[in-house]
């Protein structure tokens, strides 16, 4: 009977296959003849298996962890091994630079186009429609320059004032107590509106109603110097006029009143606009808002614009649209009643006499 320690040593050697055959047989015999030893051997064997298993598994786990770390670490193992085409490599390297350069180029191109007024030109050329208000900035600048020379005052505020828009156009009386109609595009963005009659008197006016869809604006003369006129000599024709109708207009393409004559050339306006006529009549910037009158002294429309690049294509808003627009004005908000004359006092008169009567009712609209 050997002691436990010796037995374990023997067992280790036995299990490791370190015994030669005679020792082996002797050890096996000993175990067979000794059940306690056999059991001890079995336990020892199982225990060592477990121990070994544990060690193997621990080793495997640590290998696995290393592999996993290497796999999950981005771009070290993967990128090193992969060969990238030169183009891709270059792109990766200069990607940011090229994107920045591209965006700078795009911004530069479009801002240059914008600054040089390219888009405005496009807009102008694509519409072909030109509103006939007269830009008086050039005149005003000259006057201001003269004033500056004379007074030798260099005031910042005056300079600011110079940059404001200054337009001229035409307007005419629709109701003798001071209601005047003109185009919306004339008074748009206006700080103040003044009306000047043929005698040269200047009167202050307020915009009381705008109708951007029909390009119409109603003004009311709020100046105390204004004395109500007699009823308008002209009336407004609600029905459509016929093609070839002989028409004329009075307006202010310059500071003096100007007469223009022509005929109605189409029942529709720019781009088939049914609320306007096409006229063949010489009009210029400043004629906007002028009345279009037929031979019997009826207002059939209001000059609003002309088509650029086409000869003799002027446009006038139909009187029907004007009347509709007038009826849309909330009457409660008016200072005095707006009355439309129904009795024509021009019919049968000679053209020159008609004009004499009418011109009192036509104003030069000055917009600041």
């Amino acid at each position: 009977m050997m002691n436990e320690q010796d037995f374990i040593v023997q067992a280790d050697r036995f299990l490791n296959g370190e015994m030669d055959s005679s020792e082996r047989i002797a050890f096996e015999r000993y175990c067979e003849g000794n059940p306690a030893a056999a059991e001890q051997l079995a336990t020892h064997r199982l225990f060592l298996q477990q121990l070994k298993h544990h060690a193997d598994r621990a080793a495997f786990k640590s290998t696995l962890t290393v592999v996993a770390d290497r796999y999950h670490r981005p771009n070290t193992t993967v990128a090193e091994g992969r060969w990238e085409p030169m183009l891709v490599a270059l792109w990766n390297r200069f990607k940011v630079n090229s994107l920045v350069a591209a965006s700078v180029a795009i911004i530069a191109v479009f801002s240059t186009l914008w600054l040089s007024g390219y888009y405005k030109t496009i807009e102008k050329t694509t519409t072909n429609y030109s509103a006939l208000r007269r830009d008086m900035n050039t005149v005003k600048q000259n006057v201001n320059a003269q004033n500056a020379v004379i007074r030798n005052i260099n005031n910042e505020k005056q300079k600011e004032g110079q940059s404001e828009g200054h337009f001229g156009a035409t307007g005419f009386i629709i109701s003798p107590n001071g209601y005047v109609v003109t185009n919306y595009h004339v008074v748009k963005d206006a700080d103040s509106v003044h009306l000047q009659n043929t005698k040269g008197e200047s009167l202050r006016a307020d915009v009381i109603y705008i109708d951007p869809t029909n390009d119409l604006a109603m003004l009311h003369i709020s100046d105390s110097a204004f004395s109500p006129l007699k009823t308008t000599p002209y009336t407004f024709k609600e029905s459509d006029s016929d093609l070839g109708e002989d028409v004329y207009t009075i307006g202010f393409p310059r500071d003096e009143v100007v007469y223009g004559q022509g005929y109605l050339s189409s029942r529709t306006g720019y781009a088939g606009d049914t609320t306007a006529y096409q006229l063949s009549i010489p009009v210029n910037p400043g004629n906007s808002g002028g009345p279009v009158i037929d031979s019997r002294g009826q207002v059939i429309g209001i000059i609003s614009g002309k088509q650029t690049g086409i000869d003799g294509a002027s446009f006038a808003i139909k009187a029907e649209a004007l009347l509709k627009s007038i009826s849309a004005i909330p009457m409660d908000s008016l200072a005095s009643k707006l009355t439309i004359n129904r009795k024509n006092s021009l019919n049968g008169l000679k053209r020159t006499d008609q004009i004499k009567k009418i011109q009192e009712y036509v104003y030069l609209v000055k917009v600041y």
Binding site: Q5, I8, H54, A55, D56, F60, T65, V67
Partner: protein, 182 residues
């Protein structure tokens, strides 16, 4: 099983790093997709995949390893099962995770894996309690197969007999620790 799968299985059995790497390369994206699609994060996918590889290792280590399906299907099934269990334990919502791949039952393997895990954690605890230098002596003798003479030199014992005594005491203590915690 295909030749490629057999090769992979052998590689796993001996803990071949290259094989493990290709295992990640071939199958991890699929598992990542499955986990991400079902409320998981990349970190969780990594853990799930690692555990699945260990399940596979345990199964291989039990001997007479056989698969009725492709290795890919097996790994996917294990990962899916593990992920469903994790979602369930955290009471997180999951959508249908079945439709992506073919799935085979892996419950038995997972049960065995858990059993092994418990067994080995007992061994781990016992070894932890055993402490140094006993742990290293045992490891060197039984796992690294160093001779008593080498151990004697390594630990600076005056004689091989001394080392033998020490080793015997360590072994007895480890056995006591291991069997007492059962």
């Amino acid at each position: 099983m295909s030749d490629a799968d057999l090769k992979t299985v052998d590689g796993i059995a001996c803990g071949d790093a290259a094989v493990l790497e290709s295992l990640y390369h071939d199958y991890f994206p699929m598992v990542l997709h499955m986990v991400i699609q079902n409320n998981g994060t990349e970190e969780e996918a990594k853990d799930i995949f690692q555990e699945a590889v260990i399940v596979l290792y345990d199964k291989i280590k039990q001997g007479n390893f056989e698969l009725s399906s492709k290795l890919k299907t097996y790994i996917y099934s294990v990962c899916r099962r593990l992920w469903l269990k994790q979602l369930g334990s955290q009471e997180r919502a999951f959508q249908d995770v079945s439709s992506y791949e073919e799935v085979i039952p892996v419950e038995d393997d997972l049960a065995k894996h858990r059993e092994t895990e418990v067994q080995l954690s007992l061994m781990e605890q016992a070894l932890d309690k055993l402490g140094e230098p006993c742990r290293t002596i045992i490891h060197d003798f039984y796992i690294m197969n160093l001779s008593m003479q080498e151990i004697c030199e390594k630990f600076g014992y005056t004689s091989a007999d001394n080392a033998k005594n020490q080793k015997y005491k360590c072994l007895q203590r480890l056995k006591r620790l291991f069997f007492s915690t059962r």
